[in-house]
């Protein structure tokens, strides 16, 4: 599973030897995140975000299990039980704010993690499976977050559930029965709330399971690195512990600092005030928006305002509503095909001058989509979303394959060590005796 020069697990205490013979769990941990896992020596801070996502999931699991002890998944009292948590339960406000903002932070780190993968070509062979499992985790996260947002049974919860489950009614013929089946009624109600609570509790454990597969698949070829050049020998790697446990530890500190800052000083900044109004099936809020992390996809959904029809006949092939739904789902499903869309053999964007420009354009494009998704469905936002959604699809389906065939990449370093030492040359060697020794 690892490189031949990796340290072997050698238990010294008789008890540890005894355990290792019966159930080699400590050996497994040592080889996965201990001294037995060799990692490229040149990882930058963008490689912290996998561990940070794991930390965010842990925060969600711990706070979520506690919140479930105080929550009532009954449409009549769900809203009150959340208010009860906020006002009466000891430290309830802290745990609920941590859970609500924890979801936002989970998405922040996962989005950085995804864009890290996009820039450094982490999805390319031999790590396609790591990427595919990552997209599965992302889909599961979206489902979990959506259902979690319904649980407080506020106005946004209710109308979010109405709109999102309404997407399924766009499916021809079987759409309406599926819609009713998902809700357990004709509109979101008690049955809906209960099944969402059950699944919201289940899915994080499914996510944890897929994360184990994600890491397993990663550890077969080993971690990628900012140069995208494969590990060539022992000089290219360092053991995960203590080198990256320390580096990740620093990242965890920064993450917790920012998390505490939002949690204690702006806990409602990323929420919507309408969700502090109890759900009312008879009155729609003036402006329905999902949570911010869904905005780019919501913008793609709303970008389709015209039916797809045969010109001059008025025969509609696909109505606008179904087009929007298909586009929204394809915008994510597209990522499953990315390893085979981008055919450039060079992984890292650092050595791809043309790719780099379009990568930043995609980044801006997604931010623009996000902004439009949070804005009201009026001009100029609809037109901007249409242009931005068109670019999103064009980037993956047209731009990436073209770049791969016409781009002339910059020369790659001979090895990870060579890249590291070339960087070190710009500094006076005397200042860093360790590097000076390594250079010789």
């Amino acid at each position: 599973m690892s490189f031949p020069w990796a340290e072997h697990y050698t238990p010294k205490l008789p008890l540890m030897k005894w355990i290792d013979e019966k159930l080699p769990l400590p050996r497994f941990v040592y080889n996965a995140v201990g001294g037995g896992y060799e990692v490229p020596r040149n990882l930058n801070y963008f490689w912290n975000f996998g561990v940070l996502a794991g930390l965010a999931l842990t925060i969600q699991l711990v706070t979520g299990i506690i919140l479930a002890m105080h929550y009532a998944s009954n449409a009549g009292i769900a809203f009150d039980s959340v208010e009860h948590m906020m006002r009466d339960v000891n430290s309830g406000w802290l745990l609920r704010y941590a859970h609500a903002n924890g979801a936002s932070f989970f998405f922040i780190v996962v989005y950085i993690h995804i864009f890290r993968g996009l820039f450094y070509g982490s999805y390319k062979a031999p790590r396609e499976m790591v990427w595919l499992l990552g997209v599965v985790i992302f889909l599961l996260m979206m489902a979990t977050a959506f259902m979690g947002y319904v649980l407080p049974w506020g106005q946004m919860s209710f109308w979010g559930a109405q709109v999102i489950t309404g997407l399924f009614s766009a499916i021809p013929v079987v759409g309406d029965p599926i819609h009713t089946w998902l809700l357990g009624g004709f509109a979101p109600g008690d049955a809906t709330l209960n099944r969402f609570f059950s699944l919201h509790y289940l899915l994080p454990f499914v996510i944890a399971g897929v994360i184990i597969l994600h890491i397993w698949a990663l550890h077969i070829p080993g971690s990628s690195n900012p140069t995208g050049v494969e590990v060539k020998g022992p000089q290219d790697t360092v053991p995960f512990h203590p080198y990256y446990t320390a580096k990740d530890g620093f990242g965890v500190g920064v993450f917790l600092l920012l998390f505490a800052l939002v949690l204690f000083f702006a806990p409602n900044a990323m929420g919507h005030p309408d969700n502090y109004i109890q759900a009312n099936p008879m009155s729609t809020p003036a402006h329905i928006v999902p949570e911010w992390y869904f905005w780019p996809f919501y913008a793609i959904l709303r970008a389709f305002t015209m039916d797809l029809s045969i010109p001059f006949t008025g025969i509609v092939i696909i109505p606008a509503k179904l087009l929007g739904v298909l586009a929204m789902f394809s915008s994510i499903l597209l990522l499953f095909f990315l390893p085979w869309i981008d055919t450039s053999p060079v992984r890292s964007g650092t050595y791809r001058p043309l790719f780099k420009k379009f990568f930043y354009l995609l980044l801006v494009d997604v931010v623009v989509l996000g902004y439009c998704g949070g804005a009201p469905a009026a001009e100029p936002y609809v037109m901007i979303s249409q242009i931005a959604a068109a670019y999103y699809f064009a980037h993956f389906l047209i731009v990436l394959p073209i770049i791969a065939s016409i781009e002339r990449p910059d020369p790659l370093p001979g090895s990870i060590t060579e890249a590291v030492l070339a960087k070190a040359k710009h500094r006076p060697v005397e200042a860093d005796p360790a590097l000076a020794a390594a250079a010789e």
């Binding site: 109308w159 109405q162 709109v163 309404g166 997407l167 009614s169 009713t180 089946w181 998902l182 357990g184 009624g185 004709f186 509109a187 109600g189 049955a191 099944r195 099936p281 008879m282 009155s283 729609t284 003036a286 402006h287 329905i288 709303r302 389709f304 305002t305 039916d307 109505p319 606008a320 509503k321 929007g324 469905a377 009026a378």
Partner: protein, 188 residues
């Protein structure tokens, strides 16, 4: 397995190379497969609306108190139901439109009961993504076609609650209902 030559008498006797073991294997797996599917049915079906939800699936509405030009919001299947008493002018406006120019071509007659053309009964659920359109309440924005207006994504419906502008694909749905007397309807 079946192609392996066992040379046993049993294989020869049963002919066509089908061994007793293969037959039992296929039969057992098929039986377990059908059984598994049968178990799946209740697991899926439990998600459909329960009996108590379906029991609330009809509503009675009294029309006698609704003045001409007025509309009310009733509740049907825990969703809003718009009941509107159209004025002669609104009926004329709806009839003036050529149905073939509409996105979802229907006439006012097709959307109301014979002889009760002034009573327009529709769901208060926008056919786009399920918001409640404005226009049933006093003083609410009725949109540029004088019917209903959905504030979520700007769908505008005319006085027959037909979609005229915006992203919604269909007219506001007319539920099945019947008149139980001259001034009362049973919806559902």
């Amino acid at each position: 397995m079946a192609t392996e030559v066992q040379g046993t008498d049993a294989a020869v006797h049963e002919g066509e190379g089908v061994r007793r073991r293969d037959f039992i294997n296929i039969a057992a797996v098929s039986f377990a497969g059908v059984g598994g599917l049968a178990v799946l049915a209740p697991l899926i079906n439990q998600m459909n609306p329960s009996a108590d939800v379906l029991a609330q699936a009809t509503s009675e509405v009294d029309l006698s108190a609704i003045a001409e030009g007025q509309a009310i919001k009733a509740v049907f299947r825990s969703q809003p139901l718009f009941v509107r008493h159209l004025t002669a002018k609104e009926i004329a406006e709806a009839d003036a439109v050529d149905p073939s120019t509409l996105r979802d071509p229907q006439t006012l007659e097709q959307r109301t009961v014979d002889g009760k053309k002034q009573w327009l009964i529709t769901m208060g659920v926008c056919t786009h993504l399920g918001c409640v359109p404005l226009g049933a309440g006093e003083g609410e924005n009725r949109g540029e076609f004088g019917g209903y207006f959905c504030p979520c994504h700007g769908s505008a419906y005319d006085t027959a609650a037909r979609i005229r502008k915006g992203p919604a694909p269909k007219n506001l749905q007319v539920p099945t209902y019947k008149y139980t007397s001259d001034t009362a309807i049973l919806v559902g």
